[in-house]
Amino acid sequence: MDLSAISPTLLVASLMVAATPILLAALGELIVEKSGVLNLGVEGMMITGAICGFAIAVESGSPVLGFAAAAVGGAVLSLIFGLLTQILLSNQVATGLALTLFGLGLSSMLGQGYVGLRPPSVEKLNFGPLGDIPFIGPVLFNHDWMVYVTLLLCVGSWVVLKFTRVGLILRAVGENHDAAHALGYKVVKVRLLAIMFGGACAGLGGAYLSLIRVPQWTEGMTAGAGWIALAIVVFASWRPLRVLLGAYLFGGVTVLQLNLQAAGLAIPVEYLSMSPYLITIAVLVIMSAPRKGGKSRASLAAPACLGRAFHASN
């Protein structure tokens, strides 16, 4: 076993890349759940975004267009969920599960002509001298633009939720939709917009997989990333910065265990493969455990109306 083959610099740099798809999907789902909607279709929206982004990027030669198409694809798919659950009042859990299955099927149909192709490559951003700083340079300033967009999105979500009126209304709708309605806020509209934002983010996450991380198209390539994103939102207590931490933790352990496998660590591969899931969940559970004397539900920050259908009585 040769642990010296593992470079910390490369490890940290690649964990940021590994975590980006999950972080995007989780951020989107966080906004959706904050508005009181539980969309279990993240996996389906991710993979639909992956193929939409891949196909458009290949056809147009432009990764930017590809990402835009992925966001639109994810949002359109989520809109189906939104119309079913918000207008027709279908059950959110069942509809979300159906959306995942539908997305997986739809993407493999759309992707039939794209197996084995290579997408146009995405250049890494050049920060000039910043990139030459030892350790920090390669870790922080040597990535593609989507990594930075995702980080901005994460901080942006935090700022919007905590400091702006839009964020306050979103939280209010998720907390008590009857009261929000009584005060004159458009509950269904707010939720539909949140659902579409979530779909777009999941689509971007999927496209990051197919265009940058892997980069090619294979059926079912998200391989459960959407479910991990869902779990991270819950265990991160619906807080954007904890979602960032959870996603990076998951990405980090994933990269580390791959490196350890390569280095020939004397632990069965199966245990290493499951370690990212176990460690991420364990850490986030410990963090979200109610503290002594703390306000348990408030500190969990779970939206009180999560998963409940809203129907205006008049």
């Binding site: 009261a179 929000a180 009584a182």
Partner: protein, 515 residues
């Protein structure tokens, strides 16, 4: 009947022929009224008379089918609450429209059109709340506040908009008497500043004390107007009912055997904000009603649970006809005839999302034999539910309706009727007429009296002293978990009750009703 002439151009709000129909029911049928500047205008009516629909139309939550409104001489047809608020109409809701996980300042900001920055808003909240004697901490989470404090949040939210008309939908039903006194001071101050108030309440004594004018609705129609200061509570109740109000009649009784006895019982507080019971001694005879008064939160819930079996006690400390039952749970006690109707209708007395039939089963399964060998007899259960609905005049489309969908008064009739119909030997009921209109309350009290006349021992826990005086044989006060020695209720004066509740800080006993 209208001794007050409406002078065009002087009224703040005029409503003309407002009509709103829902499938199967006309909630408001050509209702007209006018409110003057600085007037406290009461809106009276039984549960389901259409009061809430009417104020929702004024607040822009419901769109009228026909009719016009005029606000300060200009046509007024708010399409949404935002528009109503912009015009100067503010509303405090019956079920608070608050967000528990958000803090006070955020809750208030959500009810404003153009809220200032959070820091300025906090300062203004402090300032306004001090001015009106309603202290509030802007940074506190609403989930941690008491019912009275939550209402303050709603009121401050309205006051920050400088309303011309403040609508209050049953503001006092969840308040303790001290909180009611504070609220009335605030409303008087507002009236002095020229703000009009449209006030909905079931508590007629409050309306007599506070309101200048009253409009009475019955089944969606305006049936009368009056000056509440010149009417008796009984006369107003009869206007609402549209007939003679049935006043519960007590029949004299002879001493009988003791049915329920609790001796020297201590119970530690269960929840962080619960009250512990200290040295409770209590005995109720067959056919007797023991009234227990006091401000909510002084151990009422705990005492109710001790009798129902939700809180277990040392075996010998709770006795039913001399036999120890302290260690028996609720179902075992039900089988013996000890039944309970707890205070919280939705979530404790009834499962909100289950149908009335299912809710009837939950409590009646044992005594009514609604199950055998683990299988439910649905036919029998439906019959049982129908019986309750019929006998206690529960107004519901069908027994399959979810408990949540019933109005408070109707659900209260159902949960109390469900227990009474099972012929309890001991019955404990907590706040039996909370949020219930006058005629339904009278019906519930009469049912309790009938039950006692049939030989049941009844413990009535209530904040409403008038109610306790009306039906109790003996009266005791519960204060900070201690129960006073019971005294004969007949001839007890308000002053004596005040003394019994002595420890209950500044409690102002309500005036004894003139019903």
């Amino acid at each position: 009947m209208d001794e007050r002439l409406s002078i065009a151009g002087e009224d703040l709000l005029t409503i003309e022929g407002l009509t709103k129909a829902y499938p199967g029911v006309v909630a408001n049928d050509h209702v007209s009224l006018s409110i003057r500047p600085g007037e406290v205008h009461a809106l009276l009516g039984e549960n389901g008379a259409g009061k809430s629909t009417l104020v929702k139309m004024i607040y822009g939550l419901v769109k009228p089918d026909a009719g016009t409104m005029t606000f300060k001489g200009a046509p007024f047809a708010p399409a949404e609450p935002r528009a109503a608020r912009a015009t100067g109409v503010a509303m405090v809701f019956q079920h608070f429209s608050l967000f528990e996980a958000l803090d006070v300042a955020e809750n208030i900001a959500l009810g404003m059109e153009n809220p200032p920055k959070m820091r300025d808003l906090s300062a203004r909240i402090r300032e306004v709340s001090e001015t009106y004697g309603l202290p509030l901490d802007p940074d506190q989470l609403v989930g941690d506040l008491s019912a009275g404090e939550r209402q303050r949040v709603e009121i401050i939210r309205c006051l920050l908009q400088n309303p011309k008309l403040l609508i209050m939908d049953e503001p006092t039903s969840v308040l303790t008497p001290q909180e009611v006194a504070i609220l009335f001071q605030t409303l008087e101050k507002l009236r002095g500043e020229g703000c009009s108030i449209l006030y909905i309440s079931h508590k007629l004594e409050e309306i007599r004390a506070l309101c200048d004018y009253a409009t009475v609705l019955r089944l969606g129609k305006k049936v009368a107007t009056c000056n509440p200061r010149q009417e008796t509570a009984r006369a107003m109740a009869e206007m609402m009912v549209g007939g003679e109000l049935h006043v519960p009649q007590k029949t004299p009784r002879q001493p009988q055997d003791v049915a329920l006895e609790i001796t020297a019982l201590d119970v530690a507080a269960r929840a962080a904000f619960g009250t512990s019971l200290k040295g409770i001694n209590l005995s109720v005879q067959k056919g007797e009603i023991l009234g227990i008064g006091g401000v909510a939160g002084n151990g009422q819930d705990e005492l109710c649970s001790v009798i129902s079996g939700e809180i277990l006690s040392p075996d010998a400390k709770v006795k039913l006809a001399g036999a120890p039952i302290g260690q028996l749970g609720p179902n075992a006690r039900r089988a013996l005839g000890v039944l309970a109707a707890p205070e919280e209708r939705l979530g404790h007395a009834a499962a909100p999302d289950m149908s009335l039939t299912e809710n009837a089963l939950l409590s009646g399964a044992v005594r009514e034999g609604l199950q055998s060998h683990g299988m439910i007899d649905w036919g029998k259960t439906r019959e049982f539910a129908k019986q309750i609905i019929q006998k206690f005049d529960v107004r519901t489309p069908s027994p399959n309706t979810a408990a949540r969908a019933l109005s408070g008064g109707n659900l209260q009739k159902f949960v109390i009727g469900r227990e009474i119909i099972q012929n309890p030997t001991v019955f404990v009921v907590n706040q039996p007429t909370w949020g219930v209109d006058a005629s339904a309350a009278a019906a519930i009290r009469q049912a309790l009296l009938d039950l006692a006349a049939a030989g049941a021992a009844i413990v009535v826990i209530s904040q409403d002293l008038d109610e306790l005086m009306e039906i109790s044989d003996r009266f005791a006060a519960l204060n900070e978990g201690r129960l006073s020695a019971p005294v004969e209720a007949a001839g007890l004066t308000v002053d004596q009750i005040g003394l019994m509740l002595g420890g209950a800080h500044d409690l102002e006993p309500a005036k004894v009703a003139q019903l």
